[in-house]
């Protein structure tokens, strides 16, 4: 998004370190900027790529205080008995209405984005989740079973490989139950194989239509995958609705949680997809054939370019240059999909440095950046415990259910296979603007999050209002306030608190107003 502004407005910081932190974290803070400068920004970036070397104990300690986070990343065989063990009323909530396990995963994701020290890793988790999108808030009828699988999807497909290798991630995604359920492998048949997965594999996950594949290619993928279904008892997959309880079932015979090939649904013969070809005559040959196909697609130059385009949109600008796409695509292909190598190339690309302030924050990013700037943690003190639930956890935080849901940006929550859009034009609309603007006020009042400690974040160092305004703006924007903007804020303070506002009696209120107004400046919406 290109911008111009008049003299006196507050433009984005020209500082390269601030720019790097704007793009590779969920929001820079004054403290982070200081720390990174001390370490050296290249060293910081390199350390971020080695995310396991960074301690995340603060987040882990917070999560460990709440029972509900024991659900996170657990599979169906953990979740189901918990649901069954609850009272009758709770079962309905657990199984039928609210995707409890998924909602908690959404909340967990927001907390990680806000407070994890592994910021580049968290950004890439979100990136890959959108690339291979499986929504964590399912369609009631179509994807009613997804909530049982998205937790392991998030862990074993996305989180374990977000800074690893693309092909490995793709291989795991194709046969994960979440994908099999979401893109209709579960309901495919031998005679009329379901084309949904094959289409998205080519169009979205790998080569894109630029590669020029045909309907025949799609059909062959559908035929090759037709035997794939999640091997779980019928009680989990009562077709035509949400999972229902089978009273005769006991949990002593839980099957292994894996994907199996069903012989009676599997097609055999020769499969041709673009330049790839394989003959499959036995069940044992199916998975190797799938792996070979995915390897072929992952290595295809168009796949590299497709991912380069998305990385460009994420970290550089809405319309990345062809040069960027070609160069990063070539790095992707030559490194065999090594994500760290590709990210280094993005970081060092001249287009990156030139793109200061050209990205609009998406609503969820704006939301998290405010939480980071105010250094607040979720407020779970007022949550109602669900009726009928015996376990000691509170549900559900308005962070996901209300705030981000209204903004249309629940993390990992895009309903369609193409992932959340990542260009400004998709997010610029009045509804979204009003929600964002009101959200700034909500943060200051506390509610979904703890009330911020403004006096600690923005101590009053001078009785001069102008000085106070400048300090708050510098802390939040990492740059100097423009003269016209300063005047607008000063006029507002005067209007609300008089020409000589009293810091003795209303310092909190004055600070609160200034902070709100700094968030309202156009520059805050950029990253």
């Amino acid at each position: 998004m290109k911008s111009t502004w008049v003299e006196g407005a507050t433009p984005p910081s020209k500082d390269l370190v601030a720019h790097i932190l704007q793009r590779f974290t969920y929001g820079p803070t004054q403290q982070l900027l200081t720390d990174v400068r001390k370490l050296g920004v290249d060293n910081w970036f390199e350390k971020q790529l080695d995310h396991l070397s960074i301690s995340n104990s603060e987040v882990e300690t917070f999560l460990s205080k709440w029972d509900m986070f024991t659900f996170v990343h657990k599979d169906i065989h953990y979740l189901w008995p918990i649901g069954e063990a609850e009272a009758e009323e709770a079962k309905g909530q657990f199984f039928d209405s609210d995707w409890m396990a998924s909602r908690i995963l959404n909340l967990y994701t927001v907390i990680q984005q806000t407070h994890s020290k592994r910021q580049v890793y968290e950004m890439m988790v979100e990136f890959w989740h959108n690339h291979l999108n499986v929504p964590t808030i399912g369609h009631e009828l179509k994807d009613g079973h997804l909530d049982w699988h998205v937790n392991t999807w998030n862990k074993s497909v996305i989180r374990d490989h977000a800074l690893g290798n693309f092909e490995e991630m793709l291989q795991l995604s194709a046969i994960h139950p979440a994908m099999v359920v979401y893109l209709d492998g579960e309901i495919s048949t031998k005679e009329l194989p379901n084309e949904n997965y094959g289409r998205e594999l080519l169009e979205l996950h790998t080569v894109t239509p630029k590669a020029g594949y045909t309907q025949a290619d799609l059909i062959d993928i559908a035929r090759l995958f037709s035997g794939l279904r999640t091997k779980l008892p019928g009680r989990y997959y009562d077709r035509g609705g949400r999972a229902r309880l089978d009273p005769t079932h006991t949990f002593t015979d839980v099957p292994p949680f894996e994907v199996m090939i069903h012989t009676e649904r599997q097609n055999f013969g020769t499969f041709k997809v673009m330049g790839w070809q394989r003959t499959v005559n036995t069940v044992a040959e199916v998975l190797p054939a799938i792996q070979s196909l995915l390897g072929y697609l992952a290595a295809h130059p168009e796949t590299g370019k497709a991912i380069a385009l998305k990385l460009g949109r994420r970290f550089v600008e809405d319309v990345p240059s062809q040069k960027f796409i070609d160069e990063i695509g070539a790095t992707f292909t030559s490194s065999k999909g090594d994500i760290k190598t590709v990210l280094r190339a993005v970081y060092h690309h001249p287009d990156f440095e030139a793109a200061i302030g050209t990205k609009l924050k998406r609503p969820g990013e704006d939301y998290v950046s405010v939480a980071r700037a105010l250094n607040v943690w979720p407020n779970f003190s007022n949550l109602g415990v669900w009726k009928g639930l015996t376990r000691d956890f509170a549900f559900i935080s308005p962070i996901v259910q209300t705030d981000l849901s209204r903004m249309g940006h629940i993390p990992l929550g895009w309903l369609f296979p193409d992932g959340y859009p990542d260009v400004a034009t998709s997010w610029v609309n009045s509804n979204s603007q009003l929600l964002r603007w009101n959200t700034y006020g909500n943060f200051l009042n506390g509610g979904s999050w703890e009330k911020p400690q403004l006096e600690r974040l923005f101590p009053i160092r001078s009785k001069d209002v102008d000085v106070h305004i400048d300090q708050i703006a510098q802390t939040l924007l990492l740059t100097e306030l423009g003269s016209a903007d300063r005047k607008s804020i000063k006029n507002a303070v005067t209007k609300a608190f008089g020409a000589t506002p009293s810091f003795e009696s209303s310092s909190k209120e004055i600070t609160q107003l200034i902070v709100r107004l700094v968030f309202q400046l156009p520059v805050w919406s950029l990253r």
Partner: protein, 505 residues
């Protein structure tokens, strides 16, 4: 031209042509009115000014299956192709010899019988990619063959003829605004009651609004431009929010959204185009449910119930509303074995409103025989842009030239689904406030294309030209036609003068 000639040319005995409209006409085309001997004002030209329709698109995202909604009554064939999702004739609501409504569309029957609802069969986009993401974007841009896709057709429509109101185009429900996005900054609402700004201690909402307006005024970018519109729209939307309704809508997202649309229209704030997203995904690859229950039946019931409630709620305003459903593609003729259908091509569109040639199924349904299909899909026999062109030209005051700007590289065919504005006089009790908000458009029925006789007589399937065939034609000719003292220019490959006009050599 003298005054007597002018009086002869004036529309005679037309109901609803009142003084007020006349004066609006004068404002727009100043100097064109005269005073007759009796003191009654008359217009010179055959053309008039009219209060235009509000154009409402209801987006059915995911791929709407026309064959499940408007079902062919060839029961044997349907059973053969749709073994799992087939609906027996006994369950259908008869609307025509060849088609019946799905029973869940029951609430649309009164509209059908009142001829306020029309169906267009096997209509769709010229492209056949079966891809959601390409098609839904292309359908919204409607600029096939253009390299740069910067704006949706609805935005271009309002660029051509808008009311000038900040709320002239409104999106309801979605956060991505392909259809409305363009030069202007459309207003997008998710619940009228949510459309407000909250203050902070000591600083009122209007103060915050003023601050935002002032600081965003220092910037030029998409975000700041939108912010200025958003601030301007706050008061207008508050007026709509205050509208009350006693009509009971379905308790669904779509029901609530259409209720909001009705409130917008009733408030007279100048809304000219609305893009409403049906809440839900029509991409039914499997588990469609039964005839009475489940996914398909529930959605069709919601669709019918929401439209019916909307019509009831609007009352007399319905005379100046066109609602049209839009989807990215229809679905494969053969059902799959998962009680669902795959992506296809041709679908059906529903058009409802006060200016519809309703109670009738339009379009050229090619039949379901294998050889009549393309890769198993119903062929698109009418381009959806032809229907949209007709809505815009006959109901919304867009000229032929304007339509060509809105839909570039496209030659529309006349479908005669819509009545001309001049054929549907404004009811006498149409509220003045709403009329003022809508403003008026220049309207000349004779300047619009009329159906070629062959198009009506032909029953055979003529597939719409694919985008590769449709190019910006350099072979276009311009002719000049004359009638009375009026001269018009007609552009086309084979341009013909409209009825009553003669070609000027």
């Amino acid at each position: 031209m003298n005054s007597e000639e002018a009086i002869k040319l004036c529309p005679e005995g037309r109901e609803g042509f009142n003084r007020r409209q006349f004066l609006q006409g004068m404002t727009l085309f100043g100097g064109m009115t005269i005073l007759s001997a009796t003191g009654v004002r008359y217009s010179f030209a055959a053309s008039t000014t009219e209060v235009p329709d509000v154009v409402i698109t209801l987006i059915l995202r995911g791929g709407f299956d026309g064959l499940s909604a408007v079902v062919p009554t060839d029961e044997n064939l349907m059973r053969k192709v749709r073994s799992q999702v087939y609906i027996p004739n006994s369950a259908l609501l008869p609307i025509d010899r060849d088609f019946g409504f799905h029973p869940s569309l029951k609430r649309l029957l009164p509209l059908w019988e009142a001829k306020e609802l029309a169906i267009i069969n096997t209509v769709g986009a010229p492209t056949h990619s079966r891809s959601h993401f390409e098609e839904i974007a292309d359908v919204a841009y409607a600029a096939y063959g253009e390299k740069e896709k910067r704006s949706g057709w609805m935005a271009r429509f309002l660029d051509v003829t808008g009311s000038g109101s900040v709320v002239q185009s409104v999106g309801i429900g979605s956060t991505t605004k392909q259809l409305l996005g363009g030069k202007s900054s459309p207003i997008n609402i998710n619940g009228l009651d949510n459309f407000k700004l909250e203050g902070v201690y000591g600083f009122r909402p209007e103060d915050i609004a003023g601050f935002i307006d002032e600081t965003h005024g220092r910037w030029t970018n998409t975000w700041a431009g939108q912010a200025k519109s958003t601030i301007k729209a706050l008061d207008e939307i508050a007026r709509a929010s205050a509208q009350k309704s006693t009509v009971i809508y379905p308790n669904t997202g779509t029901g609530r959204r259409l209720k909001d649309v009705a409130a917008l229209l009733k408030s007279g704030i100048g809304v000219r185009a609305v893009d409403v997203e049906f809440e839900g995904d029509w991409d039914m690859h499997g588990n469609m449910g039964s005839i009475e229950n489940g996914w398909l039946s529930g959605y069709l019931g919601d669709l019918a119930g929401s439209i019916a409630a909307f019509r009831e709620d609007l009352g007399v305003l319905w005379a100046r509303v066109t609602v049209v459903t839009v989807t990215e593609f229809g679905r494969r003729v053969s059902g799959n074995e998962s009680n669902g259908t795959e992506h296809g091509w041709g679908s059906s569109m529903f058009v409802a409103g006060g200016g519809v040639n309703g109670g009738k199924i339009h379009g050229r349904f090619p039949g379901l025989d294998e050889k009549q299909l393309k890769d198993g899909d119903l062929v698109v026999t009418a381009d959806y842009r032809s229907l949209l062109t007709e809505i815009l030209t006959r109901r919304a005051g867009v000229s032929v030239k304007g339509a060509a700007e809105i839909f570039p590289n496209f030659r529309p065919e006349v479908l005669s689904v819509m009545k001309h504005l001049s054929e549907t006089p404004l009811p006498a009790n149409f509220p003045k406030g709403v009329m003022d908000g809508l403003g008026s458009v220049y309207y000349d029925k004779d300047a619009l294309p009329t159906p070629a006789p062959t198009a009506v007589a032909s029953a055979a399937a003529t597939p719409s030209p694919s985008p590769t065939q449709v190019r910006p034609t350099s072979s276009k000719k311009v002719i000049t036609c004359v009638k009375g003292g009026r001269t018009i220019k007609v552009t086309g490959k084979n341009p013909k003068c409209p009825t009553g006009y003669t070609i000027k050599p």
